[in-house]
Amino acid sequence: MENRRIILEEKKWNPRTFFFQWEWMLVALLLLVHILNGIASPYYFSVDTFLSTPMSFLDQAFIVFPMMLVLISGNGNIDISVGSTVALSSVIMGVSYNHGIPMGASIFICFFIATLCGFINGCILVKFPELPAMIVTLSTMILYRGIAYIVLQNQAAGKFPSWFDYFGWGYVGPIPFIFLMFIVCAVIYGIVIHKTAFGRSVYAIGNNRTAALYSGIKTSRLTLIIFTLTGFMSGFTALFLTSRMGSTRPNIASGYELDVIAMAVLGGVSTDGGKGRIWGPILSIFIIGYMQYGLGLLNQSAQVVMIILGFLLIGSVLVQEIHIGKNRVLPGRK
């Protein structure tokens, strides 16, 4: 009887749980990166750094959001075909433009192809749930890239109309267009992931697929949507990357998949599902981006950058392990 009254329905703000989040660590990290860079290089604190620099690393960032969904959805889901998807869609866009299709239409085609690639991945995974995504996307990775080679062979496609450069190089006031788009996507995904039934269901299947299934969550449909979405967002990357390079070849965007996954993981998204919030990846995108940029300003050789990134990746996951491992929810009542 008495416990009818005491059940709380209002959440109280709890400072401990609030500050005790991986994201704060990332914020600290980002600040530290800025500070170190600032100390190290006189050129660092400039308008360029904060406005036009993001241009050079944000193109990949668009895939991070759907990749986040893919990873959250658990069940070993991962998509390593994104790099090839970008290449294929970009190549086809270039070719179709060079064959007289107007640029607007070509851009549409680009997105269509990208979405198609993702859709195919999704279909295979839904038809054969027993196949791990890792393997399926591994083979489509090779396949898509291969098709790109067939289409363009050893040629480059390009000579785009001048307005096309706007995507990669244009500004809206002081802010780069690409940066603006990034913010828009970030907001949209933030809402979708944290505020809608869809996002909730994705976390559900990531945390406990069976329970979700019994609760009437359409797991396979979600999987399909998520992977298709990944393809679609690869279209953005293709668009911006192509625009930045002003031309395209079958070998662009190689190795993007691993960069993207690294960003997501550094952002606290676990590759075994169910974990991760939108802020993490957003922060980590900038951490990695600015760190590379800063080291670049110091003219550090590529290999040093690599080593540091490697350490950062393992280190951060290690810290998360300590971090989460120590205050994992205990089974049973206290």
Binding site: G76, I78, I124, F128, E130, L131, P132, M134, I135, V136, L138, S139, T140, M141, I142, L143, Y144, R145, G146, I147, Y149, I150, Q153, N154, L258, I261, A262, V265, S270, T271, D272, S301, A302, Q303, V304, V305, M306, I307, L309, G310, F311, L312, L313, I314, V317, L318, E321, G325
Partner: protein, 331 residues
């Protein structure tokens, strides 16, 4: 794998037969296009070129059996290869044996570190090895100061090792065979070997049966590393040149070969016999595509298509056999 391979017709053996048939068909098609295919020397080429891949595949299979994955092997190959090359440049008098040992040890150390990250600190394999990949690759450039070690800087007997042969069989093939025999024994006829399967098959149960899960996992990655180290030495001796970017992306081919060979990436399933076929298919693809001179631009696509078909077909066959098993159940 265990006796059951030879005894009953379980899904596994079905699939292997299917794969074998697939290989035969492909080979025949190639042979029709280019009769040079079934020449002894060409088959030896296939063997030699596949040797390194298949050595790596053994290690990767064990890793996959524990439901893990190792993306760092490409870097490990480059690193150990480079170190060995540098040592030999400094001391040309060293015998090949020393070089091999050095490479294996280096690889083992790297593998062990990775293994500890994964087993002790529960870092997910894919992430840990991803980071490791960057680190090791980076250090490869550092130790080599971004230089290459070229043919003339290596002692001859080291270079000849790759081309040399015993009773007409190339050293590489022999090494590969030795590795396979050893690991076939290890995996099937030693307790630890079986524990690898157990850990991958049902980690929870492993606790109750008192299997030292963490040690097994660490060991697996160490072995993987060691094999990668060995592969590194062979690589350098074969191409008579050590570069920083050696074997970039090799890990993906190895994983693909394992999967085609029927090793389940979710752990617990996989047989050496299947593995061999997987590697063979890969080797044949690499060798045949240039032979039947398809346009170089088609090669990648064809590879991808073949892998995809193999994987999907694999799944289909498995379903069929499962269904049969159910039908056979009496109700």
């Amino acid at each position: 794998m265990n006796l059951s391979v030879f005894k009953d017709k379980k899904p596994g053996s079905f699939r292997e037969l299917g794969l074998l048939a697939f290989i035969v068909v492909i080979s025949l098609l190639v042979e029709i296009r280019n009769p040079m295919f079934f020449t002894l020397s060409n088959l030896e080429d296939i063997g030699v070129n596949t040797a390194i891949l298949s050595i790596l595949a053994v290690g990767m299979m064990m890793v996959l059996l524990t439901a893990g994955i190792d993306l760092s092997i490409g870097a490990t190959i480059a690193f150990s290869g480079m170190c060995v090359a540098l040592t030999l440049e400094a001391h040309p008098e060293l015998p090949v044996g020393v070089a091999l040992v050095e490479g294996i040890l280096l690889g083992a150390v790297i593998g062990l570190i990775l293994g500890i990250f994964i087993s002790r600190f529960n870092i997910l394999p894919i992430i840990a090895s991803l980071g490791m990949m960057d680190i090791v690759r980076g250090f490869t450039y550092v130790v080599s100061k971004s230089k290459w070690v070229s043919a003339y800087q290596m002692p001859d007997d080291f270079k000849n090792f790759a081309t040399g042969n015993i009773f007409g069989i190339s050293n590489f093939i022999i090494i590969a065979i030795i590795v396979y025999v050893c690991f076939f024994y290890f995996i099937n006829y030693t307790k630890v070997g079986r524990w690898i399967y157990a850990v991958g098959s049902n980690p929870a149960a492993a606790k109750i049966s008192g299997i030292p899960k963490r040690r097994v996992i660490a060991l697996v990655y160490m072995l993987m590393g060691a094999l990668a180290g060995l592969a590194g030495v062979l690589w350098v001796s074969k191409y008579a040149s050590a570069q920083g970017n050696t074997a970039e992306g090799e890990e993906m081919s190895v994983i693909a070969a394992c999967v085609i060979g029927g090793v389940s990436i979710t752990g617990g399933r996989g047989k050496v016999s299947g593995l061999i076929l997987g590697c063979l298919l890969f080797g044949i693809l690499d060798n045949a595509l240039p032979l039947i001179n398809v346009s170089p631009f088609w090669q990648k696509a064809i590879q991808g298509a073949v892998i995809l078909t193999a994987v999907v077909a694999n799944a289909v066959i498995r379903r069929q056999s499962d269904l049969k098993a159910l039908k056979s159940r009496k109700i």
